[in-house]
Amino acid sequence: MKKKGQGQKGTFGELELPVSRRYLFPASRRPMLLLGALLGGAVLAFLLVDLFAAGGRFVSNGPLSSNHAAFGSDCGNCHFAAGRTVSNDKCSVCHEKFGDRLGVFTFAAHYLYRSDDFRRVVPSDRERPCFACHTEHEGRAAQITRVPDGECLRCHDFGSFNDRHPEFDFVAEALPDDAGLRFPHAHHVREVGKREGLEDVERACLYCHNAEPDGKGFAPLDFDRHCDACHLGATVATPALPIRQDDRLGVETVAAILDRGAPGSRWALFSNPREFRIRGDSLVKGPLHHRDPWIEENLRTLRRRLFTDAGLADLLAASPDAPADDLRRLYEEAVATLEAQVLELRGSPDADVQAELERIESALEGLRRRLDDPYAALDETRFMLALDQRNPELTDEEAAAIDSLAADLTAPCRQCHLVADATIARVQTGQRVLRRAEFDHRAHILQRRCLDCHRRIPIAEGAATAEKLAPEVDSAAIQNLPGIETCRECHTPALASQTCVTCHYFHPNKSHRSELLLYLDRGAG
């Protein structure tokens, strides 16, 4: 710096430039602020106009998902009518208009869904609005049904599929398969393979386990389709059975049944007399049919002797031991039987019969209503009670004789079926075992083979030998299903998806949607 004394006053710097004689007012930043305010204001104004006058297309956080895209043209479609946020009512306009009968998309339905937890019909304080789980405005491609695990974990204390998820019930509790049938798997696979000349063992599975059209599960097993080819050939017949006389226990002939005019016995008019070979007071029936009505009718008669008032159970073709989630079937079966009987009785001119018919029809109506009511409890006790206690008037000898006759009568059936109390055990034709989750076979079979997972019964090994495997190793009662560890071989954080909604649905089975169509049909009708 240069030397500066009084002489240099009024200057600064090396060049001794003149010092400012006035205060220098800082340059205003107003233009910049103005620019910002204008831009900001313009954006704000545009968006507010857009929001309140033009549908808010620019204001929204993002386009609606593809399914809801059509509503995107006007915010009011969802937002304005019922307050600020989207209320469940707005959702139910579409989603429960058709489903409210069943409450498919409600919280209540979640409690009920396969859990039969009727106590939870009262709303829980944990209930959340639809949009809480189904976040919208996340783009066209967003799938709002993919609810993040966090939403489930609010109530369910399972860390994740790989952490603290409970073992499947049937494994954890070692539940037997109440198939109601004698069925060695290995033997059948071997026989089918032999007959069809199959090289691959697993192809034999598909002979009985026919995939449903969606590929997820399998169609119910059916005698006519799956068993008939081998079982109940022309040579199968009952042993010689005593014909019932006034004082003697025995089977009724067709003529006797017709004479008795039992309800639902119209089949007797069309039965083939050649199938009954009567020698003296004994009778042989052959060939037999599956669900042979003569055998069923005789069994029912015998059962009525064992259980004087079989009640509703009388309307069933098999025992009332249905799985808890399938009680409808019992009712439907009973209703079908009743309806058939009613049809038969319509032609009768008898006034008593007509009065009885009226009674039956009103009972039928009540039954149908119960079936239609999603919240009505269905339970099989009405069926079970009937078969609870044997007729106390029977002596032990008499009861044993009846049991013995029933056993003889069903001797050909018992090759596969289980018979007790003069009743054929109900066969579980459906093969669904996961009660609260969905399993898609199709998604798995492409990458894994059947026996990779279903390996409890050594089917492949058993099919390779000529011997039948012991029933402890191979029987229909063995749950040939994998535990959760098998699933975890692939479903890990690093590999296949393992979110809650991969397997579980919050709302009941989608198949209930078919009810919507039904509703539409009725509405149109």
Partner: protein
């Protein structure tokens, strides 16, 4: 009464009305005419025209007993003349005496002074509430120079009718060294600084009387408080004060020249004196003297050195005391302890001169500091250019605080990374105060803050011209002086006003420029040590 007279009365009210708010005043007189003033002994020498001219700066106030006129350490621009009653003056407290700042300057604390130094400076051993250790030493020296009264600590004196007091502080811009209180109901003539200056200039008798008062009341005290004479007996000092000579220096006046024959000892009373030595083809500043320091001990003490070792030149106005060589020699004989003090001072001076010649950057810094008055300033606005983004927020903050008009220009000389802005330094010896005709520019009561009362300023530009650092700006108020303005020369002319940084004195907060800089680059620097710390800082 003519128009001028009316205006004079108005001015008088303007000047004195604020006194009414002060406790203890019973009555302040209206403007006294020349005829009335003449009757007072103090004004007897002056003609009526002159008295008319100064009349608005003079009033007679009646005080009740026990009223505090001013407190020790405050700056006032009044001198008092006792008409009747008695005034008591005394020095408060022990080491705490002197100008203790009530107003906190809130300067930016730069690199802290090493703790050892800090405690070392606390020579008096009392608890101090100072922000910065460097200021402590300043204060001791300030005390020394402004000792109006030669009073022992905690003792008082009574001043009766015919006595003048407060004048040294008023004339020199120093803080009062005593507290004054009326001992009985008093009538006091109160003379504002501009009038006092004019009176002193006009009347030789008054000047002599004031100088005499200074000698009588102050000099001995000053001398006794100089480390040099502390060892001497009171009697000796009393004798000394008769033999010494008071020396006043104009800016850049040479006191002694290198090589000329030496012999006397100088003690600096106020201002700064720089010591210059020939160096190669030019010269360098080797050191400088501030209040209380002595010059001449090297030449006196060391045999073989007879000529002045360095040229001594005043930086701005400076006041010194010359003690003849003969007297010093007498002192040395009677006080053996004295030689030790002088010896250590002399060796220190020689060491320093040697160091300055070897350490060129340091020497340059001293030169710059002296040339730019950095030694003067008690609060210099220095901006660290390594950080300054030139956003002008400091100026905006200043303008915001002062009604939209900034009080400094962010421009000025640059020394290394520091810009020394054109903002008031708040000099320890403010030359701007000299010659203000209205007393508009004044110390803001306490502390070293100098402010301008723009209501009183008549825009004469004296301070603006006097300020060596261009820190005062004349601004156009866009008003015109009224037709009855006094002095008459201003009537109808555009009204200008001087304006400068007041350190945000009335706002209750520290300097807004420092507080509002986002980069933290402006500093209010009070000493060369702080400057040095800023310069040495890593960018």
């Amino acid at each position: 009464m003519d128009k001028t007279g009316i205006k004079q009365s108005e001015l008088h009210r303007d000047r004195w009305s604020s006194l009414d708010t002060q406790g203890g005043i019973v009555e302040v007189s209206e403007r006294l005419g020349a005829a009335e003033l003449e009757k007072i002994e103090l004004f007897a020498d002056y003609d009526r025209k002159f008295l008319d001219k100064i009349s608005h700066d003079v009033s007679v106030a009646t005080w009740e007993a026990g009223a505090v006129l001013f407190e020790q350490g405050t700056y006032i621009d009044l001198a008092f003349f006792v008409l009747s009653g008695e005034v008591e003056v005394w020095i408060e407290g022990g080491g705490e005496g002197g100008a203790r700042p009530i107003f906190d300057l809130d300067r930016t604390q730069v690199a802290p002074v090493a703790p050892a130094e800090r405690t070392g400076r606390d020579a008096l051993g009392s608890t101090r509430l100072m922000k910065s250790a460097t200021r402590v030493s300043d204060r001791e020296i300030t005390m020394l120079a402004t000792m109006d009264f030669d009073l022992p600590r905690e003792a008082g004196a009574r001043l009766g009718p015919g006595e003048i007091f407060g004048e040294i502080g008023a004339l020199s811009g120093w803080p009062q060294s005593v507290t004054a209180r009326t001992a009985s109901p008093c009538r006091l003539v109160q003379i504002r600084l501009p009038a006092l200056r004019l009176m002193k200039r006009k009347s030789k008798a008054l000047k002599e009387r004031l100088d005499g008062l200074y000698r009588q009341r102050s000099l001995a005290a000053q001398l006794k408080n100089t480390p040099l004479f502390q060892a001497c007996t009171d009697m000796f000092v009393e004798a000394l004060k008769e033999s010494v000579e008071l020396v006043s220096l104009e800016p850049s006046e040479v006191l002694v020249r290198e090589g000329e024959t030496a012999g006397d000892l100088y003690v600096v009373r106020s201002g700064f004196v720089k010591l210059i030595q020939a160096f190669e083809q030019g010269e360098i500043s080797v050191s400088y003297l501030s209040k209380g320091m002595t010059l001449g001990e090297v030449e006196l003490m060391i045999d073989g050195i007879d000529g002045w070792q360095a040229t001594a030149e005043s930086v701005e106005y400076a006041e010194l005391v010359r003690i003849p060589g003969e007297t010093v020699r007498q002192m040395l004989e009677s006080n053996p302890g004295l030689s030790e003090i002088l010896w250590s001072s002399a060796t220190e001076r020689i060491r320093e001169i040697g160091a300055a010649r070897r350490h060129i950057p340091h020497s340059e810094f001293v030169q710059v500091a002296l040339d730019n008055g950095l030694v003067q300033g008690s609060s210099i606005l220095a901006i660290d250019l390594n950080r300054c983004t030139r956003c002008d927020d400091c100026v905006k903050a200043c303008a915001d605080t002062h009604g939209g008009r900034p009080r400094f220009v962010r421009e000025g000389n640059r020394y290394q990374n520091l810009l020394i802005a054109k903002s008031c330094y708040h000099c320890r010896d403010p030359v701007c105060l000299v010659g203000c005709p209205t007393g508009a520019i004044h110390r803001a009561g306490v502390g070293e803050v100098v402010t301008i009362d723009e209501e009183i300023c008549i825009g004469c530009s004296t301070c603006y011209r006097n300020c060596p650092y261009d820190a005062i700006v004349m601004w156009d108020t866009h008003e015109v002086w009224p037709a009855d303005m006094v002095p008459q020369g201003l009537r109808g002319r555009e009204r200008q006003a001087a304006s400068k940084c007041d350190l945000c004195a009335d706002t209750g907060h520290g300097p807004a420029c420092v507080d509002n800089c986002p980069q933290g680059c402006p500093y209010r620097v009070a000493s060369l040590e702080e400057f040095q710390a800023l310069l040495d800082r890593r960018p």
